[in-house]
Symmetry: C2
Subunit: 424 residues, 2 copies
Amino acid sequence: MAIAEEKKLQSYCLDIAKRARQASTQLGLLSGDIKNAWLKASGQMLCDRSEELLAANRRDLEAAPSFGLTEAQSDRLRLTSERIESIAEGIRQVATLPEPIGEIIETTIRPNGLEIQKVRVPLGVVFFVYESRPNVTADAAAICLKSGNAVILRGGKEAAHSSRAIVEILIAAAKQTGVPEHAVQLVATQDREAVGYFLSMPEWIDLAIPRGGEGLIKRVATEAQMPVIKHFSGNCHVYVDTAADQEMAGAIVVNAKCQRMGVCNAAESLLVHADVADSFLPNICQRLYDEGVEIRGDEKTISLFSRAHRATDEDYRAEYLGPVISVRVVPSLEDAIDHINRFGSGHTDAIVTDQSSTAKKFAAAVDTAAVIINASTRFNDGGEFGLGAEIGISTDKFHARGPCGLKELTSYKYIVYGEGQTRA
Amino acid sequence: MAIAEEKKLQSYCLDIAKRARQASTQLGLLSGDIKNAWLKASGQMLCDRSEELLAANRRDLEAAPSFGLTEAQSDRLRLTSERIESIAEGIRQVATLPEPIGEIIETTIRPNGLEIQKVRVPLGVVFFVYESRPNVTADAAAICLKSGNAVILRGGKEAAHSSRAIVEILIAAAKQTGVPEHAVQLVATQDREAVGYFLSMPEWIDLAIPRGGEGLIKRVATEAQMPVIKHFSGNCHVYVDTAADQEMAGAIVVNAKCQRMGVCNAAESLLVHADVADSFLPNICQRLYDEGVEIRGDEKTISLFSRAHRATDEDYRAEYLGPVISVRVVPSLEDAIDHINRFGSGHTDAIVTDQSSTAKKFAAAVDTAAVIINASTRFNDGGEFGLGAEIGISTDKFHARGPCGLKELTSYKYIVYGEGQTRA
């Protein structure tokens, strides 16, 4: 890039960031009513102006083959009246969630009479980089604004026209309802350098959230000079204990693996206690196989189900997001825990057992965002957890772990009420 | 450094980090009783072995002039029987705090019967880099271990012998009480490179905490590939509103500035509403002047107190940590807020006012870890807030803000209890 061009791009990004910071200052003081009015107006306007959205989306769809998108990817990109209605409904849903900002998290009265309140406040400015479908544009803006944060959206080139049309509507709704105009901004350039510039502005941007493939997440995690909420891979396990109800275990394994294969909370690995391998494995392998799932197992698995292939360590580490499962027979609960802590990605790990002491041991020792006892891994999800809306599922431990809803996009401040106290 | 030496150092650091990770896995499952037994035994052994500590400390004191330490710095380094007793007492205090790990933060029962618990867990391994007095070695270890984290301590060279003697005792107490031996490790080398190696190991270390001068904090913040809890400067303000009780305001300003000048929650800047400048400023400036404080003010201040010097923007940004205060007369509450948000460091900012609406506006709009209404800034402190013990005061917004006690060194996991639920 020519120096002049580089400077222009840099100053374009800086202007966006500064406007976002300014908007965030106002946004943090807005009442819940105004934010909710914006959410409702946005939902309404998305439906009212659906022709405009569909036209923009057609341009993205026409360009899709030139980006090498598969048929399935094109389909995920496609907007229809129904999909627009569902995006609008998602935004309206966010309006019904309790107001997070200003919540008094804790109150303490000290012996000297000071009242110390811990109060929920926004983080400030969120930089959201994503590769996904157009609905993410609307979802991310809704969650960020409801939690009092200004957002800078940098979507993928494949959905550029659709995202721009959506953001134009969100901004029109903002003007109508008294939300700062620059509370939502879309980065208009697809220049890769632009992402780097935003990631180097910790004084203007408080949080970066990448959503997409591992390459994007790694890049953001490495370059960002501000905190990042990461959503790395979901290598989720189901461990079937010796004391498991095998019928329940079978239903959970099949649901966790097959109900939807391409998602982060789908099971990728099955661990079975040696004592129940003979009775449980042949049947469950057959059921998975019948669902079109390839089995990659250890020797014991292969000895019990001949159509299984040999699993490598790479398999035990893999997030397949598709019709493959790795299987291992483990001699003990401790071995199951060790396996998960070694190969897992800290996303979602389930145990099926009738023994409460076993479940407790597993829950305490497995280092993961969500331990699921006697249910499917597929439940680790903002909606299923009752958060109402989520911006991703964090596999980090710092600040936010698991599904990230409104609260996870907030910070807090202390407000101390005195009557002239001084320190002795 | 020769390549062979570099490799040796790197592998030394890696070994420490791996041992810490292993210890943290065990530590996270330890009962509060065992951790408390360790704290009490540590306190006892520090007192019992005080001769050993004093001898080690004498070696540090003898070397102090060669490090260019001032008399005052040497004094802070000095251990006495009383100071050892007070370190021990600090550790015993931590034993009396409620157990943070395993706390059920929230419970939700979903319509499908799933019970979702959000449970407090340790972060894992903390890398603590500090330049301060020997007592920090003991405090940091106590807080990290009580919150279930293994800690790698890298103290300053000035206190190397004292820190080593303290850590030896903490490890002896660990062996006695069943705490993993490598839960507390001291980095034996003073090599600067070693810090860099630890900061590049996000797979083994979950959190870095620098405590010391701005240079150290900046270095850690820049190099760390894991999250950092930063404690940047405390440029704390007191704003005296038009509706302030001037007697109260005077007492608060003098206490905030003078009660202890070298600490982060001391006031560095005084803002006075124009309407009360004439009545309030001459008197308060004289009182501060009498306490030996240099006044650096704007023109209005100088016109009211002739011994004031002219303040620059640098003054308004400064954390003096000493007998200087910057002063500005502001035309309105909004100007006070803007000044603080522009020049402040987000640490502690106080308002003195009788008007509750003014206090609320200030509390909402000032972007700071602690807003103090009608009391001294000096109260922003873990002990004063009732946290019991703190590892620093965070000026970040992410994860932990304000005083960092036990809870701020923890994360959470979700534990979901089902009865065979699968997702439809």
